[in-house]
């Protein structure tokens, strides 16, 4: 005998098929195919579920075994109260707050609500799985621990790292060094103590570790509230100057990546020229013009083969009212190398300033930049 649920699903299947036929006959245009496919898909889905439902008799246990609903594990009362509804409530409140304030609050609240739903659902299911409370806890763990452990570990480590980074950012540069050494030394000392006194119990070690973690996070929060120290920004090198300036300090002076170099710019005592990258042909030329594809970023290596420091400056044009586009290396020491990445956005004809490679502020010697 078919159950009510099965009848409902079979009916839905039949209605979907009839609707698909009628839709296909009556509706024209590009939407007709989509509609028929949608309705037929619904019919297939309903049919599948109806078949399963008939097979399992609508999961109607009393129909198969009268009275079982009073004796089965699912009929038992839950073993204890659950905290997840409260978490879900906080999440829903967060959703409301996030909807009118910041999207990030909404997203976090959404994650909290989803997590609470999943946890609550699995807890409720596992508590009714059998009469054995221990077994129920085990199967809950099997389902959720693979999710819970990595997430909690990530959150815990994230909080630690974030807290530590806030501490280091708020401390002065000198204090930061000493702090880093002190924390490292404390960690090492703790590990040595644990290694020597093997009698220390797991709980003691876990307690001390937790206290240390809370301390780091707590001080980190306090540091975040206090704000980070003033961090001095490195000024950009002054491209149209031949003097070493503040911006040259700390700037990289050796190419970090010489693969795929477009051209090597060489400065000797007698010449200033370009050699095309990846071409060692017989016609390897000391170019005094460099053809650069428009709007493609290319990299240059600057070889300073003189006995004086020098800077490679690329003047990449002044178009309309915009400021002149200038890029340069830091001051490159004698017999040193510098690296420069340039992008010419327009052709020299459109520029009111020359487009060329030069040495700092000196307009000559120069390598003309051509942009075809």
């Amino acid at each position: 005998m078919l159950t009510t649920g099965s009848k409902l699903l079979i009916g839905a299947t039949v209605v979907s098929v009839i609707s698909a036929i009628l839709f296909g006959i009556t509706v024209d245009g590009p939407g007709a195919t989509v509609g028929v496919i949608g309705l037929l898909s619904a019919a297939v889905a309903f049919g599948l579920i109806a078949g399963i439902n008939v097979y399992v008799r609508d999961s109607n246990a009393p129909a198969m075994e009268p009275g079982v609903e009073h004796t089965c594990a699912a009929a038992r009362q839950p073993s204890g109260a659950s905290g997840w509804p409260a978490v879900a409530a906080v999440g829903v409140a967060g959703l409301a707050i996030g909807a009118v304030s910041r999207p990030v609050v909404f997203l976090v609240a959404l994650v909290v609500v989803l997590a609470a739903i999943v946890e609550w659902m699995v807890q409720a299911w596992s508590e009714r799985a059998s009469d054995d409370t221990g077994y129920n806890a085990t199967i809950r763990g099997r389902l959720l621990h693979p999710l819970e452990f990595p997430v909690l570990a990530t959150l815990g480590l994230g909080a630690l790292i974030y807290g530590f980074s806030r501490i280091m950012l708020s401390a002065s540069k000198d204090a930061g060094r000493w702090l880093f050494i002190a924390i490292g030394a404390l960690f090492l000392a703790g590990a040595v103590v644990v290694a020597i006194y093997r009698g220390a119990g797991k709980r003691t070690i876990a307690g001390v570790s937790a206290l240390a973690a809370f301390a780091v996070v707590g001080v980190g929060v306090a540091s975040a509230v206090q704000g980070q120290r003033d961090i001095e920004a490195h000024p950009a090198p002054s491209c149209l100057s031949n003097e070493e300036g503040e911006g040259d300090h700390g700037a990289p002076k050796a190419p970090s990546d010489t693969a795929g170099v477009y051209a090597t710019i060489v400065l000797t005592d007698s010449d200033f020229y370009a050699v095309l990258g990846n071409w060692n042909g017989p016609d390897k030329i000391a170019y005094h013009q460099l053809s650069v594809p428009r709007n493609a970023r290319v990299s240059l290596v600057f070889l300073n083969q003189t006995s004086e420091p020098a800077r490679l400056t690329a003047r990449l044009g002044k178009f309309g009212d915009a400021a002149e586009s200038v890029e340069c290396t830091a001051m490159v020491e004698a017999d040193g190398e510098g690296y420069l990445s340039i992008k010419a956005v327009n052709v020299p004809l459109a520029s009111t300033e020359p487009m060329q490679l030069q040495l700092g502020g000196e307009e000559a010697p120069a390598i003309e930049i051509q942009v075809p």
Partner: protein, 412 residues
Amino acid sequence: MLAHLPRRRAAAALAILGFLVAGCAKNAPQDIFRPAGSNAREIDDGLGGQKYIFILAGVVAAIVIAVVLFIIFKFKDRGQDIPEQTHGNPMLEIGMTILPAIILITVAIPTVAKIFNLAKSDDAACVVNVTGQQWWWEYDYPVQNCGGIEITQPIVTSGEMVIPAGVNVQLRITSRDVIHSYWIPRLNGKRDAVPGSLQPLRMQADQPGIYTGQCTEFCGLSHARMRQAVVALDSDSFATWVANQEEAYTSPTDALALEGEGQFISQCARCHQINGLTNSDGTPVLANPEQNLVSGAAPNLTNLMTRTGFAGFTFDLITDACREKLWNAPSEEFSALYLQGVWMDSPAGAEYPVCFNETALREWLRNAPGMKPMFVDPNNLSSTGGLYRGMPNLGLTEAQIDQLIAYLLERK
């Protein structure tokens, strides 16, 4: 013979035969087993060459498949007793380790040597910068002596790269947007075009002819329509081509074409450059593709009608008959035929009075994204900050298209 086989086996045999016969196509312009230049031959020939490795790999595959099939059929479960179970056979295991190692070493040594040979650029006598973007290739020729021919000002073209036959040309490949890959199968292997980096690739064609390829790194919506060609010309013809590319711009004299020049300035010059084109006040007309396109570049159309294809070499600028004749021309006739370019009036010696594929260009001007899918819906450009990926539908009238075609036909 197949009639004697059971139906299933006959079907399987037919399927295998179909696969084998598919490799027999004569008109396969991208056939890697028909090298047409020294670099492709380097890949093809010798102990580490693809031909021998293909055969070796085929033999190994055949042996493995045969052994697997033998085991499947020999030990198929027919209700027989389970055979005696054994574990370990040192001699067999050592042999099965050493044999593949020997095969791999045999293949690796000459292959590595070939890689180094292909990376050489000592004998490259010309250099071309190749820049990829969605979905076409740009070629620019710096000022240089290219295989004995002086290039006195930078040349820029797109779709098809023209090189002198018999000369090793060094390509310097990069990209403006995403990663692409340049491949002319009959001339050399593939090389990725990576934004911000320069990848070298040597290219040489023994004989004049056209050698086609295809972008081989998925690069977006019209990746399949990002094609390319290398056109090799004999030395004299290459010199003629260079001289033609360097010729100064001349304004059209025909009234319709003159109107087309105005249309070009107002409709097309936002992205496309025609070198030498000036406004009515004499100031140069300069394209600003960086303000309109994600890649920041559009094909330079200065000498459009010297090419045989357009829109990333996807569509022909010449008619099917002319294309057939050009592509199948003997190498000694090819260069002269190519230099004729696209014509409307029969030049001396031309077999066909009209070679211009007007239908394709007209349709392109009418609705470019209808021919080649591109991200050019003006209402859906928020993700690109209002910039297009490709050519949008400009909504040109038929009269405007007539004028533009008349103008573009003179760009040769």
